[in-house]
Symmetry: C2
C-alpha cells in the first residue's frame, strides 16, 4: 500500500483505462494520494512502447502512470473479469475509456459493478459520447482537433489552411476535466453517501475548453462575426539578432513602454496605435513594424529594456532551455528520481501545491503485472490460488 | 440564492479573481452547483470589454462568468475590504489571481482571512509562482506559451521558427487544474475539517500539462533525443478536391484499410510502411504521397471509403461547421438561452455529465454589481446601510 499523504489519500481507484485520456486523469489523482490500481491486458498498455526506454518501461508510460500499482490480467477470460469485479467491490472509483458498449459486453459496466458496490463512482470517458453517428468510431487526438474547431482556430493566417496542434491537447484536456469530475463525485458521495455514473466525451471536453475565447464570436447567436479577425495578434513572437522573444503591450502604459523601448516615441500618439482598440485594429502593421526594429539587437538586450520599461516580455524557450530557466528551477516544478529500470528520470510534479499536504513520494510506475500478487492477496487470494491464476494464463507479469 | 443541483451545491465561493484563469475555474464550479460571488472593481472586469455585446455584458464576460452572482466594490477603501472579509467569513473557498503580494497588501491574504474563517480554502493562482526572478512580472498567456516550451513544440517544421497557439491554452489549462485542486481541497476538508492555502502557477500548470508526450524525449535524463523528430506526423490534415479531412492509420489493420482506400495495395508490404515503426520513420514521404492521392476526390467520398475500410478519419471543420455537426448536435454540448441584455446566447455546457445530478439552470452572468444588495443583506446589512455604501462610493452598480 502507498503511504502518500494528500487530499485523495484513502481512496482506491480501479483504472481500466488505456492510452492517455484516462491514465493521465488517474495519475493526477495518484499524485494527490489515491491508491490507483491499473489493469492492463497481457500485451501491456500501448504507451509501454512509446518514448525512450525498453522492457516495456518507457518515458511515454512513466509520464502518465507514475505512482500507480499495476495488475495484468486477461479480460477475455471469465475468471479475469471475475477478479476485476472483486477488486471493484473494494474500490471507490472505476475509470474506463473503452469504446461505448465494450465494458457492458464484458459484464463490467456500471450496471454490473453497482451490484457488487452500491456506492461506486463509475467514470466513462469516450471519444464522442455514447450515442450519435460517431459513437462507435475509433478516436485519435487529431480527430477531435479537427472536429472541435481547434484546427480552424490554428489556421494559417495567410493561406487559411487549417493546422494541427503538435501536442495532444484534446486527450489531456479530457484528462483534467475527468479528474475534476471524479473529485467532485467523491465530494458528493462524501456528503450524500451516493455513487453515480459520470460520463465525459473528449469532443465535449474540447468544445467546452475552446469556448471562452475560441468561440467568443459565435456566442451571441444573432451577431456572428468573422472568426479569424484578430487571430494574428496572438502570434506575438519576434525574431531578434540571436533568437526569439515575445513581448506584448495591452494597456496604454505598456504601449508607452514599448514605444520607448523601440525608440519610436511618435507611436504613442500615432492614431493607428493610440488606444487599445486602435492597436487591435492595426495589429498587422503594428506587429510588422515592431518586428523590424526588434530584429536589430540581441534577445538579452531587448528583454532587459522591455522589462525596465514595464512591457510584459519573455524569451521564447526551446524545451531544453526551459529546463534550466531560473523561474522553472525556482519553482521545483521538475523533479528527478532514480528509476530501477531506466535510470534517472525527470518529470513535472502535479502543478497544484496543497498547503497542508506533501507531494507524492512514490513516483515510480509499475512494471507489467508488478502488483498482481499484492492486490490479489488484499482481496483474499492465497499464494497457491495466485500461482494457479498465473499458470492458467489469467494473470501475467513481465518478470 | 441559486437553486442548482450539482456535486458542489451548498458551497459558497468568494471569487476575487480577474480576467480568465480564475474566473474560468470558478465558472466550472458554478456549473456544478457552487454559489460563486464574483467581486469586481468599479471599472468592471476587463473581459466585460471583450467580444460581442455592449453595456459591459459581452460574450467574453458571459463565457467565463455564467451562473455567478456579481458584486462591485472598491477594494481601495477600508470599508470595501472590510465587506470582503465579512463575506469571506461566510464562504467555503476564496479564489484570487492578483500578482503575488497584492492580496496580502490589501489585508485579504490567507493569514488575514483564516482569522475570520478558520477552515477557509484559499486558492492563489499566479503567473509564475510566489518567488523567483519572474514572480512580480506581469503575465499574459503568450508569455507562458513562450516559457513553457509550447511555442517550441509548435515550431514550423521547415523553418524551425517557434509558433504561438492561437487559443489561450495556458490560462485555460490553469483554470481546469485549479478547479480540480479546489474540489480536492473541499473533499479533504469534508473528511478532516481542515482548510488550507493552495497555490498554482500558470507556468507550473502548463509544464505539467505538456509533460506526458510534449516532454517525452526529455524524461529519461541520460538519453535525450532530438525533440522535433516525429512532430510532422501530427500534422495529419489533408486537402481534398473540396476541403480538408484528417485521417490516420496507427495499427497495421488501419494501414491496410488506408492502402485499400488509396488504391495502393502495394504499400501494405512496402518496407517503408509495413510496420508501425517504419511508418513513423517514413512519416514525411508517407504523408506527402497520401496527400497527393487524397487531393483527387471530395471530402465526402474519401470519408465514406475511409470509414468503410476502418481508418479513423473526420472532416476538418470550421467553427461554424462544428455547430451543426451531427455528433455535436447529438451531444447537446452547446446550449442556447435568452439573455436579457444581448439576446440569444449559445455556450458549451460543462463537459462532464454527472449521472445523478442535473446540469445548471441559471446560466446568465451578472451585470456589474447586480447582486450587491442581495449579498449584503445575506451578511446582515440593512437597506439604509446599503444606500449609504452606494452614496459613499464603496459599492457600485451599472444600473
Amino acid at each position: 500500500m502507498k503511504s502518500i499523504d494528500g487530499p485523495l489519500s484513502g481512496y482506491k481507484i480501479l483504472d481500466l483505462s488505456r492510452v492517455l485520456s484516462g491514465p493521465a486523469a488517474t495519475m493526477m489523482l495518484a499524485d494527490q494520494g489515491a491508491d490507483v490500481i491499473k489493469i492492463e491486458p497481457p500485451a501491456g498498455d500501448i504507451t509501454r512502447q512509446m518514448g525512450v526506454g525498453s522492457q516495456g518501461m518507457t518515458s511515454g508510460f512513466l509520464n502518465i502512470n507514475r505512482g500507480k500499482r499495476g495488475m495484468c490480467l486477461d479480460l477475455g477470460t471469465e475468471q479475469g473479469r471475475h477478479i476485476v469485479r472483486e477488486i471493484a467491490a473494494t474500490c471507490d472509483v472505476v475509470v474506463q475509456n473503452f469504446r461505448p458498449g465494450t465494458v457492458e459486453a464484458l459484464g463490467l459496466g456500471y450496471a454490473d459493478l453497482v451490484k457488487v458496490n452500491k456506492t461506486i463512482i463509475f467514470a466513462s470517458i469516450s471519444g464522442f459520447g455514447e450515442s450519435g453517428p460517431y459513437a462507435k468510431k475509433r478516436v485519435y487526438d487529431p480527430i477531435i482537433q479537427a472536429l472541435s474547431g481547434l484546427t480552424d482556430i490554428q489556421a494559417d493566417s495567410e493561406s487559411g489552411r487549417p493546422k494541427m496542434m503538435r501536442t495532444v491537447i484534446p486527450d489531456k484536456v479530457t484528462a483534467l476535466t475527468a479528474a475534476q469530475g471524479i473529485t467532485a463525485a467523491l465530494l458528493q458521495r462524501e456528503r450524500t453517501g451516493e455513487g453515480q455514473h459520470l460520463r465525459l466525451a473528449m469532443l465535449d471536453a474540447m468544445i467546452a475548453f475552446l469556448w471562452p475565447e475560441g468561440m467568443i464570436n459565435l456566442t451571441v447567436v444573432d451577431e456572428v462575426r468573422d472568426l479569424r479577425i484578430g487571430q494574428l495578434a496572438l502570434d506575438l513572437i519576434f525574431q531578434t539578432s540571436d533568437g526569439y522573444i515575445t513581448a506584448g503591450a495591452m494597456s496604454d502604459d505598456e504601449w508607452a513602454g514599448m514605444c520607448k523601448t523601440l525608440e519610436r516615441p511618435d507611436w504613442v500618439s500615432d492614431p493607428r496605435f493610440s488606444s487599445t482598440s486602435a492597436r487591435f485594429e492595426n495589429a498587422e502593421v503594428r506587429i510588422r513594424e515592431t518586428g523590424k526594429i526588434l530584429r536589430k539587437r540581441t534577445s538579452a538586450e531587448w528583454l532587459q529594456t522591455l522589462d525596465a520599461n514595464g512591457v510584459p516580455c519573455a524569451p521564447v524557450l526551446t524545451r531544453t532551455e526551459m529546463l534550466n530557466n531560473p523561474q522553472v528551477v525556482n519553482n521545483d516544478i521538475i523533479e528527478e528520481y532514480g528509476h530501477p529500470v531506466i535510470g534517472t528520470v525527470r518529470q513535472a510534479r502535479g502543478a497544484t501545491r496543497f498547503g497542508s499536504t506533501k507531494t507524492h513520494s512514490s513516483p515510480v510506475a509499475p512494471a507489467l503485472g508488478q502488483h498482481n500478487a499484492e492486490i490479489l492477496k488484499e482481496i483474499g487470494y492465497a499464494d497457491e490460488e495466485i500461482s494457479k491464476l498465473r499458470s492458467d494464463k489469467i494473470i501475467y507479469s513481465s518478470d
